[in-house]
């Protein structure tokens, strides 16, 4: 993955707009958060292969923390903390936020085929 470039990622988000797409959306601080630090909570959520169509989507933010919002017919898809992206060999838009140690904290992925 490479650091997010606002213009490049916006182009990719636009390319999937209006299409039936599959979404992988995830946030996590790991199954060991509380094991490693008694005061921490284990928190995470993911949805894999949710099918949505978004009318439009935007990427916002600066530096190393970006937000993406996708406006669907009945609601929104939202992710915060993204800082890396790639279009993989299956033409899927992968976006992720990694912490200083390279661990994944958040992930939003868009694909025309199921993950």
């Amino acid at each position: 993955m490479k650091p997010i470039d606002l213009i490049e990622v916006q182009e990719q988000i636009d390319a999937f707009a209006g299409k039936k797409v599959f979404i992988h959306l995830e946030t996590t601080n790991g199954a060991y958060a509380n094991h490693v630090n008694e005061k921490a909570y284990n928190v995470g959520a993911f949805i894999r292969n949710a099918q949505v169509t978004y009318e439009h989507g935007k990427i916002k933010g600066a530096g190393a923390a970006y937000r993406v919002g996708l406006k669907t017919e009945n609601g929104w898809v939202y992710a915060e903390g993204l800082n890396a992206w790639e279009l993989d060999d299956k033409n899927r838009l992968l976006m992720a936020g990694h912490d200083r140690e390279g661990r994944l904290m958040v992930s939003l992925e868009i694909s025309e085929t199921a993950f």
């Binding site: 993989d88 992968l94 992720a96 990694h98």
Partner: protein, 224 residues
Amino acid sequence: MEKHVVVIFPHPDDEAFGAAGTIAKFRQEGVPVTYLCGTLGEMGRNMGNPTFATRESLPEIRKKELQDACKVMDVELKMLGYRDKVLEFEDLSKVSDHLKELLETINPTLVITHYPEYAVHPDHNALGAAAIDAVSRMEESTRPTVWAQAFMRGYQEILGKPDVVQDIRPFVKTKVKTILCHKSQAQGVLGNVTGEELTEENMEAIALEHFKEETFYTWNFENI
């Protein structure tokens, strides 16, 4: 002496951190070892440091790391095909049947798995419970011994001292080599385990210094 040892853990790298020294010891004695690995660690958070994996490329990367690790330990590998993080939501009676069938084919004298409810990660607890359930339903005459591994904070205060303490110092090189096969995970997990600031350069030395023993509880089937 054991005739065949089966290790049942859910993630590629559980075998390395939890039992690679013990496994190496069995292999040196000529005992065959089979690793039944539940998932490919698809939902792992460590992506290498600096990151080289993505959520989508991670399973293939970890599969290769797992195969390399099994080569280092010289053990047979069977991947069970469950998915990381959601194992506990599977029909665990089916998982138990699956394991029982495999165990009846392999016919081990010893099974190593996680101690249910004392192994921190929900996948560890779920697969450990399924494994123990599978063994408990085997014919008593062919039923293997089970060594269960616990590491939840404060586990010894509740369970007492583990009765199986393997001095793995003679095998620590193999253990660390096995851990380092899991390139995407090694640095992150070693950092947690040792509590040290690790770099690619210092982690091997720190790991070699850190690991001294692997401990297990012999499961008492009278209790269930």
